[in-house]
Amino acid sequence: MQQDADITVTATNGSDRRRSNPAGRSGHGDAGDPLLQVRNLEVRFGDGDPVLHQVSFDLQRGERVAIVGQSGSGKSTTIGAILRLLPGNGRISGGSILLGGKDLATASDGEMRGIRGKKIGLVPQDPMSNLNPSMKVGAQIADALAANGMRNRSAIRKRAVELLTEAGIPDAGRRYGQYPHEFSGGMRQRVLIAIALAGSPDLLIADEPTSALDVTVQRQILNHLQTLVDAHGTSLLFITHDLGLAADRTDRIIVMAEGRIVEVGTPRQILLDPQEEYTRRLVAAAPSAVAALDTDPGRVLEPAAVTATAGPEDILVVRNLVKEFALRGQRGGTVKAVNDVSFAVQRGTTTAVVGESGSGKTTVARIILGLEQATGGEALIDGRSITGSNGAQRRMLRRKVQPVFQDPYGSLDPTYSIERLIDEPLRIFKVGNRASRQQRVAQLLDAVALPRTVAQRRPNELSGGQRQRVAIARALALEPELLICDEAVSALDVLVQDQILELLADLQQRLGLTYLFITHDLAVVRQIATNVVVMKSGSVVEAGSVDKVFLAPDADYTKELLGAIPGAAFAR
């Protein structure tokens, strides 16, 4: 009965919403049969309970549809089922997937091989792991062409170079013979797009195709993908966790949670008039959408926090910082990862350092933490430098600055209990005795809103958000004054990200903490920072208050970054 109810809900919702949608763009088959019809799709792993429940949706020819959801929502399982490439012992246990009248749910492996690559192309998520590392890039495209029935070797090569060029890879003839590790992330993603389009498929599935890339690269690639899809009249199924991105790039959004379709609608409907409670929460939490929609900087912390502590004094001063790395294989060759960077951070405020990969932001953080020695200049905490001091003073400085790293999976030792992880800094600095440390751990767990019972558990029993709370608790153990958060929320789902940011803001107000927030995500900056430092190629491009930088940016690069935030189109 429960399931029946679900069908009705999704079906009504879907068709209601669809009616209000100007079906298809540019008149591609608005009247004809849909290209893809998914009906009551159910997927199980082994004999377990279904992980997809009665998923139904249509995709018209030439239409672009996004499936939006957090990790575990079932979006990746849905496309795994469509391609019949479910991981492990996953299987379709009910429903149908009609592609041009053929049911993929019951097709044989041989039939599927004729459909994959030819009818359905896949642009996978992570460009770093989706190319065969021991095979030349050209050969990997040639493979796809050969699977598509091309036999003539020189014709294959010619077409593969064409595809590479079309995907926006310069000097494709030479690049054809190179290995994946000789390509940047963005370039690899272009190669994967070329592979996906090699068989001129009717349907292109893009599975978070740019989530691993910098925003400006992301924009270039999506623009390019869109041009190609439009030119070929291909339908697009776009999987993303980023509501803003979905809104920018598609005609229709399917919101999924816990293996079910929650809501379907046009971007405008979903963003501005969400019907379901879950969608509302998602919209409220989506940083990009928030950044675009929210012109009132209400969530930016009041400088009141500053007056609560010692006054507007600078806790951190970075002066003319330079860091050079020796280039491998070239004698005496160096690259300047950090080039004459200066900024100051006021006690009790949040300063964000923003930049794309390779901008030097993480190197700056590592120098401040004393994990890396500067080539020139200095990073002073309360007027003293960690690398410049020694002995007791250095230990004292280390206690004042604590890091929270990006990956909550990699930064916690999986063999330690949570209690041991959190009290490790206390033990290292010989603070208190066993009993007092135990009490401190309990306090810290309270502070980061984790139940005290997790103390005896291990990291792998916790979710990503919970682990990041543990990392924050550990950072707080020694009562530091400055927290360096290096992409501390980038690996988390939006709703969880929102909670962690909330927690950080709350802790700041209560404990008078100062944050240096290293991030690539401008939307997050808008949400939490008072000041921002924009970095590019090792240098500071622009610095100032968040309001100033966001509303009246000076540097072209800042403007470019701001323009690349997805969802900006829905600002009013």
């Binding site: 994959r116 989706n130 590392p133 021991s134 095979m135 290995y179 294989g329």
Partner: protein, 317 residues
Amino acid sequence: MLRYVGTRLWQSVLTLVLASLVVFIGVRQLPGDPALAMAGEEATPEQLAAVRSSLGLDKSLPEQYLAFLGRMFRGDFGNSTRTGTPVTDLIATTLPVTLWLAAYAIVVAIIVGIAFGVIAERFRGRWPEWLTNAFALIGLSVPNFWLGILAILYLAVTLGLFPASGYVDVSREPVRGLYYLTLPAIILGTSLAAVIMRQTRASMIETMSTDYVRTANAKGLGAGRVLFRYGLRNSLIVVVTIVGLQLGGLISGAVVTERIFALPGFGKLTLDAVFTRDYPVIQAVVLIITLSYIVINLAVDVLYSVINPRIRVGGNN
């Protein structure tokens, strides 16, 4: 790349010198006296002293070592104290036997190991995997000499498929020579095959669940192509390393195998030398084994960079 090889060669020479020192001292710690062995139990003290002096054993240890080192770099390992034949001659007649045996065993082990490893991965949880697992268990746990005796009993004596012992020079009569070596090669290669099989299986399980294999499937490629070009090729990177580490063990394994099949190889030479305290032969044998380890490791490193383009030095500049 050249600089890298140069460094490696220099390191190899150093390793060899160190090994020569270790073996020189080690041999002299063995109980027993080679002069006594040569001169016989009834020799007078004068005769014994004369033999000692002729062998250079009356000099101090450092002097003996330097003399040995000097001769070694000229390729002169002295004469066997047992037979008086130059050690180099002994090595020249026995080493090829062992090299043929080892090479044959490696080929057998690689073919069987990789094939079984792939089968085990493809048929996970079904009977072919159990069969290959049983093979691996036997290959690793049953000692060579026992397997060898069983093989001689059943395959050679009862069924008459292979000769039970004997050696025919492979370079003169390749077909008959390899036929005589088949049974010893299988026995010697069994444990290596088992290791390769396990490694291939583990590595394939990992590779076949990578993103790029999924992407290859999404291209609509045939199952065979995905398996070999995407799966196996990348699995071999790990396998090659493991095989390299295991190869050295083959030489010591050859000692036992040669004994069982009465092959006139390096292993037999080694055993005989140890039993008779034949210092010059033992020293030469150990140094050659050391050298073979060094050569194998160098070869594995080079092969590794061929298979794995990411570690190729100076790839694209």
